[in-house]
């Protein structure tokens, strides 16, 4: 089953021609109408006329997360404000968030991508899709929601939390598919078991679209064996729109709709393309975006490209499972956390010294983050209640900026490791 067979099964050569036409159009538009892109192209001595084939995309400069930050909130928008119909906001690295704006057309393409993806795993009319991604500024909830409605499924917008009720609803409403983070699904299974409910035997839940954090084949097998759920990897970041692309039932890579997104894989250090099929950093160009285009955006996710035809018949290229990051971003309980964000928050608290350590572990199904901080000698009090207050204050500040709870431990000055050269302040002991 295909949602859009003309595009999805388009012969590769034709797809490449389509991509070239879209790219050319995009570059002309941005050069002509957007100051940021115009200046960037002039600085790099490249003119839209220099783009004469798809491979010429390499003449265009990269875009970085820093560009998004520097141009916050709206300097990268290429349409008038009144054409923007929605904003999403993701956590930034230095307390400053990343803002993404969407035109109606942008939302339609996002939904189209998800409709193709959901169809490719067999979610459609008759399915009840529980969306247990967070709804709100995070793209996951609303993205999956619109995709589910588009393909004619019944959508249950449960968002995150209140897991016991989610288990009850899965039973009562005959939920057949769920979109959530893999760690939340495992947590949900634990809660179900504690309620005496077997997801495998007592519910109709059989499909999962899992993403927003790294997971593995062993988790897929566990989810299949223990819960009776076929789990599919879903990929997409807010810069692209949100979660967009999934594996098909072949589960041999994530199909990336070629008319929507162009993927290059480059060496993270040199920025040069890697050999065919080698691992490297993904660089994405969004071919249809209007409000906030992305040209050669360094997404920092590490993957590889598969360009052979998939057994499902779709001709779009596929990317392998994301195997890491080329920067230091952590994904904790589905939330992006940059160590620099933690540092920024800590350094604004007068009682906290210069040294800190970040520990991430997996306790049962859920990620736990602990931040150890050295307190300044002046901040030490003989009063235990005051020390507990200081700890609570640091935890509250971190929660405010990271959007996620991190346990704080107070340490005496000199107790935490010092580093010569590059500091290794993050210890991630999760086994994924």
């Amino acid at each position: 089953m295909y949602w859009n067979p003309r595009i999805e099964c388009m012969p590769v050569e034709e797809l490449k021609k389509l991509q070239y036409r879209e790219l050319k159009q995009l570059v002309y538009n941005l050069y002509s109408f957007n100051k940021f892109y115009h200046d960037r192209m002039v600085e790099n001595k490249v003119h839209p006329d220099d783009i004469t084939c798809l491979a010429d995309i390499r003449k265009l400069p990269f875009m970085y997360k820093q560009d998004l930050r520097d141009n916050y909130p709206d300097k990268l928008f290429t349409v008038p404000k009144n054409e923007i119909v929605r904003y999403h906001v993701s956590s930034g690295t230095t307390g400053k968030p990343t803002l993404v704006g969407y035109t109606q057309n942008d939302l339609d393409y996002w939904t189209e991508a998800l409709a193709r993806s959901m169809t490719s795993v067999g979610i459609g009319p008759g399915d009840v899709l529980q969306v247990s991604y967070g709804y709100g500024l995070f793209t996951g909830g609303l993205g999956a929601h619109y995709g589910g409605e588009k393909v004619g499924a019944t959508v249950l917008p449960s968002s995150t939390g209140n897991t016991q009720r989610q288990v009850e609803l899965i039973q009562d409403l005959g939920v057949t598919a769920i979109a959530c983070t893999p760690s939340y699904l495992i947590h949900l299974n634990d809660v179900a078991n504690s309620m005496g409910v077997s997801i495998k035997n007592d519910t109709k839940l059989r499909k999962g679209l899992l993403g927003a954090e790294p997971w593995s084949e062993s988790m897929r097998k566990f989810i299949h064996d223990e819960m009776g759920i076929e789990a599919y990897d879903i990929y997409g970041t807010s810069e692209q729109a949100g979660p967009m692309f999934t594996e098909c039932t072949e589960r041999n890579g994530i199909h990336v709709a070629g008319d929507i997104m162009l993927v290059e894989i480059v060496d993270p250090d040199s920025g040069e393309p890697v050999e065919n099929g080698d691992k490297g950093e993904m660089v994405v160009t969004m071919l249809q975006k209007e409000a906030m285009p992305m040209i050669r955006y360094r997404i920092r996710d590490i993957s590889y490209l598969m360009e052979d035809e998939c057994a499902c018949g779709r001709t779009s290229p596929r990317i392998g499972r994301i195997s890491g990051r080329s920067d230091d971003m952590l994904i904790v309980r589905g939330i992006n956390v940059f160590p620099s964000q933690i540092e920024y928050t800590l350094m604004r608290i007068p009682e906290v010294g210069q040294q800190y350590m970040i520990y991430v572990s997996r306790e049962g199904a859920l990620d736990e983050m602990t931040v150890q901080v050295e307190i300044r000698p002046e901040a030490f009090s003989d009063n235990m209640a005051q020390m507990a207050q200081l700890r609570a204050k640091i935890e509250a500040e971190l929660k405010k900026y990271l959007n996620i709870y991190a346990k704080v431990e107070l340490k005496a000055p000199g107790e935490l490791p010092r580093f010569e050269g590059k500091a290794k302040r993050v210890v991630d002991t999760r086994v994924i």
């Binding site: 307190i375 003989d382 107070l410």
Partner: protein
């Protein structure tokens, strides 16, 4: 108010990890500080070692030079004849006067037993305890 009835306690921050307390004790010993009484309070990741020492001002400087995180804290020392009775009496007097006890610990000395207490208003506590006829010890008596 009798200043001599205010005792200086040293409060030391100790990370709650194996060997940290031993390390602090080793430093205390190495700089020649004589500890008369101490108490250990702990939370999950750190503890506070509270010590009554000889020459607290001098000891404070010595330990601070060694990089130890340390504070001076005013406490009072209540002479104890019968543990439960004395404690009740002092707590009752302080409670009636609206003085809050933050923590306390017992010490059985050579001549006297002592209840060290930290209160939220040390000077007021000294006054009302003495007025109530409760004997407080000064530094020399401990």
């Amino acid at each position: 108010m009798d200043e001599s009835k205010i005792i200086t306690q040293l409060s030391i921050f100790v990370n709650n990890e194996p060997g940290r307390l031993a390390n602090v004790c080793k430093i205390i010993k190495s700089v020649g500080i004589r500890v008369r009484a101490f108490n250990l309070a702990e939370s999950a990741e750190f503890g506070i070692l509270r010590a009554i020492v000889e020459n607290p001002d001098d000891s404070f400087e010595k330990l601070r030079e060694k990089g130890i995180i340390i504070r001076k804290t005013d406490i009072i020392a209540i002479a104890v004849t019968d543990a439960a009775d004395s404690f009740f009496e002092a707590a009752d007097v302080l409670g009636n006067a609206g003085v809050n006890i933050e923590y306390g610990y017992f010490y059985t000395g050579v001549s006297d037993s002592v209840l060290f207490v930290r209160v939220d208003d040390t000077e007021k506590a000294v006054d009302i305890l003495e007025k109530a006829g409760i004997r407080l010890l000064d530094d020399a008596e401990i």
